[in-house]
């Protein structure tokens, strides 16, 4: 068995699968970083992604264009994120309750709309986005195939990761966005428009979460199925904590989870005689162990999930 695993072709295929499984987590995680850095915990990421998945499918199906699908998916994600913004910024409600409620709401809503859409029809499916090999980079051994022979959305993520890193580390604006998650009162007294920035953060949260869901449909599957995000939104939240609220940390965490999931499903097909239930635990176990290893300074924004009410103290 070990001989089967330790071949270059197995490792290449395995890494490629790890990246595919990690990609929705990375987009969702990146969206969550923007929200949480600004003090808003969006547990509703699962719902944002599910709406992204459904509306990207519906858009692409009715228009016949993947670009329209992507735009619709983003719009779906934004809608959910802004409802969360309405409840947690404007109405200053409990963010965990709002997020969980949105997850249930979107599950019911997307399943219902999908049934309307597919009533009396056969299976509906769309073409998926093709892979584009980056010249040079894709020829690298082992990682070339996994990271640089992918679709446009994957490459876009790499760019967004770098931009996010620069934004928070090198720009004053980024500092202001991070400040409102740490101490909104202090930020406000320094002239930062707290609520306006939080709304912008939620907009980004919706856009990126929408792409996370759209990635599943437009790049990987070409079909929508009920509840197809199946917990990836929650894992995305974990990757943010595990990645210490930094884009590259989150990237690494998502990759670990994707790799663990890719490994367990591949071990099954090789015929490893371990129960699939136990193998299915592998990604979660690795995540928990990794989080245990990440003890130390808490990177969590000080005012995360505490509503900011202007003038109150």
């Amino acid at each position: 068995m070990m001989q089967q695993i330790l071949t270059l072709s197995f490792m290449t295929a395995f890494l490629s699968a790890a990246v595919r499984l990690a990609m929705p987590l990375m987009y969702g995680g990146l969206g969550e970083i923007y929200a949480e850095k600004s003090g808003i915990l969006n547990i509703g990421m699962e719902g944002v992604m599910l709406c992204g998945a459904f509306f990207s499918f519906a858009g692409a199906w009715y228009s016949g264009s993947l670009a329209v699908g992507l735009v619709c998916g983003i719009a779906g994600g934004i809608a959910v994120a802004l409802i969360h913004g309405l409840l947690s910024i404007y109405l200053a409600k409990d963010q965990s309750v709002s997020g969980l409620a949105l997850n249930m709401l979107t599950l019911g809503l997307t399943s219902f709309l999908f049934k309307l859409m597919s009533a009396g029809q056969g299976y509906q499916q769309i073409q998926t986005l093709p892979s584009v090999a980056l010249p040079g980079l894709s020829a690298l051994p082992l990682i070339g195939e996994a990271f640089f022979n992918k679709d446009i959305l994957t490459y876009l993520l790499y760019v967004l990761l770098i931009l996010t890193h620069i934004f928070y580390k090198k720009t004053n604006l980024g500092l202001s966005f991070a400040a409102i998650g740490e101490n909104p009162e202090a930020a406000a007294s320094a002239g930062v428009p707290v609520h306006r920035f939080q709304w912008i953060a939620m907009l980004l949260n919706g856009i990126l979460g929408g792409i996370a869901g759209a990635y599943l449909v437009l790049v990987q599957l070409g079909v929508f199925t009920e509840d197809m995000v199946s917990g990836r939104g929650y894992i995305a939240l974990a990757t943010v904590i595990f990645g210490r609220y930094t884009p590259f940390g989150m990237f690494g965490a998502a990759l670990v989870f994707g790799a663990a999931n890719a490994l367990q499903i591949r071990l099954q097909t090789i015929g490893v005689s371990i129960s699939p239930y136990l193998l299915g635990l592998l990604p979660y176990l690795i995540t928990i162990f990794a989080m245990l290893g990440a003890v130390g300074k808490n990177a969590k924004p000080e005012s995360l999930s505490k509503p900011y009410i202007k003038g109150s103290r």
């Binding site: 249930m104 049934k115 599943l216 199946s230 015929g271 005689s273 129960s275």
Partner: protein
């Protein structure tokens, strides 16, 4: 004030959108009264809708009166059964494995009420279970897969290792090995009915390993396995419905489970008085399960498969029902 109103309205909207537990009853006490209990929505375009429609058709045929309950959680089943039993219903149907134990429990207190469960293993004086012999279709699909593979490797993907799914994958393996004892049958379980991407990755892992025919019984998430097969240009075999439109050029066949036939037989037995408290296995001979072959199959394979189907129907070939988890 304005803010409070908004939050009240949002809460109301969310509550309304949650799936509601509903009961529809009709008043008329002449014919036998049948109650159907479902674990999901009666219009779910799948497991529950086929049962509802099958039940409605059977009731129409036998002149019975039908009521139904939707979206029952496991914890609510016993009380829903007891509600119906105490309101003078004559036949109570629970659709799914999870209804078996509550039926046994409630049936003891209502000896005059007949309980029927699908896909369960419950049997008592007034409780019968009707199980579809999905192992028969799985076996035939295994034979077809083995005849179509060129690499000598085939794969089976399932969702969760429940009895009714394990028996399909096991029979698929048995069928494939009956054609070629040396064939490699790879299996994977997604541990989820909904994780479509993981089913796709399971199929891709098999394809990377040389598998060129994939059978799935993974409900909706099996669509991911079909997508991977289409992408790689290999053969695949569908489940539950005619899935040919998902993979028109790659599909070999679909296993069909005809719940309408099952419910027709079950209610027919009640009406003509031949009801017995037993576990009934309904196979290809009754039309409860069948293999729908596609035109992608070459004639010789089609003929061989049809011959096997005929033998299973006549009882000449008996497919083993094996619930043990193999690895």
């Amino acid at each position: 004030m304005k803010k409070r109103w908004m939050s009240v309205m949002m809460t109301a909207a969310m509550i309304l959108s949650a799936a509601a537990f509903s009961t529809v009853a009709q008043a008329d006490d002449e014919p036998l009264k049948v109650a159907l209990c479902l674990s999901g929505a009666a219009n779910d375009q799948g497991w529950n809708q086929t049962a509802y429609e099958g039940c409605a058709a059977a009731c129409e045929k036998y002149g019975l009166e039908l009521s139904y309950s939707e979206n029952l959680e496991a914890a609510d089943i016993a009380s829903a059964f007891a509600d119906y039993a105490s309101s003078d219903y004559d036949v109570i149907i629970g659709h799914g494995y999870e209804f078996g134990d509550p039926a046994l429990e409630v049936a003891e207190q209502y000896p005059d009420v007949i309980f029927i469960c699908t896909e369960a293993d419950a049997a008592a004086d007034n409780v019968a279970s009707y199980v579809m012999a999905c192992e028969q279709t799985g076996y035939v699909e295994g034979v077809i897969a083995a005849m179509m593979t060129e690499s000598g490797k085939v794969g089976g993907i399932g969702p969760i290792q429940g009895d009714s799914l394990v028996k399909i994958i096991n029979a698929f393996e048995d069928g494939a090995k009956s054609v070629d004892p040396d064939i490699e049958v790879k299996t994977a379980w997604t541990n989820s009915f909904v994780d479509t991407q993981l089913a796709q990755e399971a199929a891709r892992a098999m394809i990377d390993d040389g598998v060129d025919v994939i059978k799935h019984c993974a409900n909706a998430c099996g669509n991911g396995a079909m997508a991977a097969a289409v992408e790689a240009g290999i053969w695949c075999e569908g489940d539950s419905y005619d899935q040919s439109s998902l993979a028109p050029d790659n599909i070999l066949d679909s296993a069909l489970y005809n719940l309408d036939v099952v419910l027709d037989i079950a209610l027919g037995k009640v009406v003509d008085g031949s009801f017995e408290g037993e576990v009934v296995n309904l196979g290809m001979d009754s039309g409860a399960v069948e293999v729908l072959m596609s035109d992608n199959l070459p004639d010789d394979v089609k003929e061989a498969a049809q011959e096997l189907i005929d033998q299973i129907i006549s009882g000449e070939v008996e497919v083993v029902r094996d619930y043990t988890i193999r690895s």
